[in-house]
Amino acid sequence: MSQTKTKDHAALAGAFIKDEERVDWHDGALWYIREKRDIAAKQIPEWEQLREAASNIKSNVISNLHEYLLQFEANLIKNGITVHWADSAEEHNEIVYSILKAKEINQMVKSKSMLTEECHLNEYLEERGIEVINSDLGEYIQQIDNEPPSHIVLPCIHKRKEEIGELFHEHLGTEKGLSDPTLLTRVARKHLRNIFLTRRGALTGVNFAVAETGEYVVCTNEGNADMGAHLSEVQIASMGLEKLIPQKKHLGIFLRLLARSATGQPITIYSSHFKKPRKGQEMHLILVDAGRTRQLGRKDFRDSLKCIKCGSCMNTCPVYRKSGGLSYHNTISGPIGAILAPNLDMKRHADLPFASTLCGSCSNVCPVKINIHDQLYKWRQVIVKEGYAANTKALGMKTMAWTFSSPVRITKVGEAGRWFLQNIPFVLNNKFNPWFKQRDMPEGPKESFTEWFIKNENKKP
């Protein structure tokens, strides 16, 4: 799915918002999940200490990543898992392809992996004659609609059940107009069960990888990762370098935080710990860089690598809720996406750190206490310095800085603004003024506070 010119967030958001009823529904659905997270968090008295501990563990990971990677690799090999390293998305895709080709597998089932979405793995394999089916229901729906997931945990949160029903009618032959979620899920269950039973290759993501023991954990609610993996001849796990945790016992902390942050559940239904291949099965794990070491080197932004992909920042972000994940034009959307994406392609994603009011709610819900809103501010400075701000914006800012750095100039401008608003309001109240589109301008009072103060300077209250 290539795009010639990506529209920026503001344009995509503007289009999404036109359907106000849909926006209200989308916004309400995600806010409800934020509320469930709050309820779950408030049931754990030590919640804030857990966040702090998780944050510190992840700081230790990224500051000792070299050592943990070596330890992890050694243990994986001991456990009988073949380890691969991929520098780029392309290299990752090549590795997956060669593993499957070696066993003459041309059909693979895949459970949720944002990394493989980032790498555009499915397209790569399809172009080379390997069919890939996404087994997570939400991702399956997005796949048959030829659209990327809009949310990392809830892939089709932006779709109404009628639209999903229509897709199932077209692709799975269900009755036209059928939109009941339970019935649709039963149809998908039956269809995907057949996929699980017939696919010799299965690929999963990795939620957590334990350096100490060489095992990795995959969390799902649907059971699709397990259905694919335990029936496969070849099982592949794709993992970003940053998914490591040092010791097994740390899983206690992360698994207590993950599902509660993501959906308000105390734990995902399945938390599967893969350590050794099944009898007669081959297991592979691909360690992927694809820009992560570059982010690791950025002092102000490396903490973004602590992310455990819970999606809670998206659920709380009012901009995300009201503009939809697809308006971020990046696999990972929302607040965390906005601090990861500029590292991948600063030009393409220069608009994302500006798609925020810097309200800070994201940083507060993040289970690993990433200072997301601080990083958004800092990315803005970098993007401007690197020259990715629009020229008109730079000129406007320079003018503003020049005006505001002189008491005389700022007074003159203020006076002028008030005068226009009082006497010839249409100079400012017109369609060229974006403020004015849906809001009235403030009124222009007769005198500023400074003017009043100077006049009344010697009076007592």
């Binding site: 659905a29 857990l50 501990a53 510190n56 563990i57 700081s59 230790n60 500051s63 990543l65 070299h66 990677l69 390293w85 520098d87 290299e91 087994s135 229901l137 939400g138 729906i141 949160i157 779709k159 109404r160 999903i164 339970t182 649709l184 899920t185 039963r186 269950r189 069960r193 039973l197 023991t213 609610n221 649907e222 059971g223 699709n224 397990d226 335990h230 029936l231 097994k248 016992k249 740390h250 899983l251 902390i253 698994l255 207590r256 559940q265 105390p266 734990i267 995902t268 239904i269 399945y270 938390s271 710990h273 893969f274 350590k275 099944r278 860089d289 570059r294 690791l296 080197g297 002092k299």
Partner: protein, 194 residues
Amino acid sequence: MTTREKILDAVLKNQPATTTLPDTSVFEGDSNELVQKYMDVFKTIGGSCVLVKDIAAIKTFITVNFDTAKRIVTTLPEPGDSFELISDNVDPHSYDDVELALIKAHFSVAENGAVWLTEEVMGQRIIPYICQHLAVIVRAESIVPTMHEAYKKIGEGDYGFGGFIGGPSKTADIEQALVLGAHGPLSMTVFIIE
């Protein structure tokens, strides 16, 4: 230079100064009333929880509540009528038509209703996922309060595969409507032996 070397070099060059690991031994659960806590949580997840005296009671419960004409498998020794012993020597695909699987957990966790299973108690890895209905036996005294105690119990864990299972499979991908029974079992029953 191989990719491996290239990546490891970049990591070593870019990683910041080391920070220490926090002391996580401070996290501890409350060990009171674990059975009741477990049962309350498991019910809210959409599972069924039954207190029983012994295995015989479980078998009776199953014959009453499940269709014994369909395939029921178990890891229990001396399965008896209606129950088939799981073999770890057959093709996992052959378990596609299992209606109910009855297995034993190592322990369960009160704060989230999850049971901990490893390959050795599953019979085969696929069993608890492929069956239409899952039944798990838990000894009351094995219930732990939180995941911290759980990982203490699991320890180093020398298994090829292990998993927490916290209820029937589910999805809310279609308009956030909760549906029990996604790709894993449609239901889960936990029998607590006191």
